[in-house]
Symmetry: C2
Subunit: 244 residues, 2 copies
């Protein structure tokens, strides 16, 4: 049967989701743990190849396995063997044609910015520390230019290997909650580094170095060099994927 | 001059506040960093000797130094040399008789319990994961028996070396916020392991193994063996100390 997993992880210790030569990845740990558990060579396929240091509350993976164990119990069984920075929060049986990456879905990411005078030791791996004042209302105003179907070349890494740079952003909201500024973004897919480049650009707006309307203008120019820098990974979390 | 520091730290990597032979402590890192910075041997005195794995948002330390640097700037200067799991959030000059531990103050601690089916990787060092259902209303009802001036022998480790076990608890409240249960406790001082033993006892109440009123009864008996187990350190944070 094909099993779908919802996977949460603290990305701090991993070289991202995807198997790498230069460091341990979440995918590699899952492959090894699941193969060992079932006594079969198992390879998981993931929905989102999150980068080094990026976290997930609900990444999605799938694998095929020959077992009589009820799919719902697999999460509990695997969590006993997984390291404590990777937790499977749900396992379920899915049709054999389900593919976490190619199936259409709605992805939600969150980027957390700790905006105050001093860093917070317990949040240092889970938010970007930014000590200059930020105007979250202007950031939110700028964010609205990104909502809709657009070519997001301006907000994509030059290393992106996508066939098309057109994506649809359903929601892009910036709000302040206590000492944190949160970017909440939902879309049908995101290009390589897209959320981090959007964040880096909104930080320019929040800091007064770019007008909100300029974000709409640079989006149309399809030129990465016009956007802000790529924000660091630790503030980013893949919240979840809702399949359509 | 005598300098007061407000110190935040992630206790995960430390053998507590106080200098130990068997591992690195927050106090040791501060002594070394501050001595190096001023080129003088400096020894800080702390308000609370938090245990291994316990965090602080606002522990207080003080030291004497011969310097012309304005006291308020010391925090910024030291943060440049401190590891990123220790942050000084305030430095100020205090009278020469100020002592962080012996000066009367009001201490606030918080204990976080993650109460849901699966653990959360990004909160694993900052909350106790507890997957059985908990009745936070009963926990809060039980907590009210602890408010006031009492002999807290029942809720103190047998290793406590205090001269008196009488302490005053001003506030003791349990509430649920999303998937977390929070214990918020304020008092004029806490015995060794007191907040963690209170938490361990309230977990017995929350899980239905002890009646709320029983907490009042065991408090009067002054017998540690009647209380619940000592809850693990990772859920505990010293929020702050307000000097009177």
């Amino acid at each position: 049967m094909r099993v779908k997993l919802i996977v949460a992880y603290d990305g701090t210790a991993y070289h991202g989701w995807q198997i790498q030569n230069n460091g341990i990845s979440v995918q590699q740990v899952l492959n090894e743990t699941i193969s060992e558990f079932f006594g079969q060579e198992i390879k998981v396929v993931g929905a989102s190849r999150t980068d080094t240091g990026v976290h997930a509350k609900g990444n999605v993976a799938a694998f095929d396995v020959d077992t009589k164990m009820p799919a719902e119990k697999i999460a509990y069984a695997l969590n006993r063997s997984l390291p404590d920075d990777i937790v499977i929060t749900e396992s379920s049986e899915v049709p054999a044609d389900f593919h976490p990456r190619f199936h259409k879905g709605r992805k939600t990411y969150e980027y957390r910015i700790l905006n105050r005078t001093f860093p917070d030791p317990v949040r240092r791996h889970y938010s970007l520390f930014y000590h200059y004042p930020l105007d979250e209302k202007k950031m939110n105003e700028a964010a609205q230019y990104l909502v809709g179907e657009h070519d997001f070349t301006t907000f994509s890494s030059i290393h992106s290997q996508s066939a098309t740079f057109v994506r649809t952003v359903y929601v892009c909201e910036v709000s302040r909650r206590g000492d944190e500024i949160l970017l909440h973004i939902e879309g049908n897919g995101f290009l390589y580094n897209m959320v981090r480049i959007i964040t880096g650009t909104l930080l320019e707006v929040g800091g007064g170095r770019m007008e909100p309307s300029h974000v709409g203008e640079i989006l149309e120019k399809k030129d990465r060099s016009l956007a802000g820098p790529t924000a660091p990974p630790e503030g980013l979390t893949l919240i979840g994927i809702e399949y359509l």
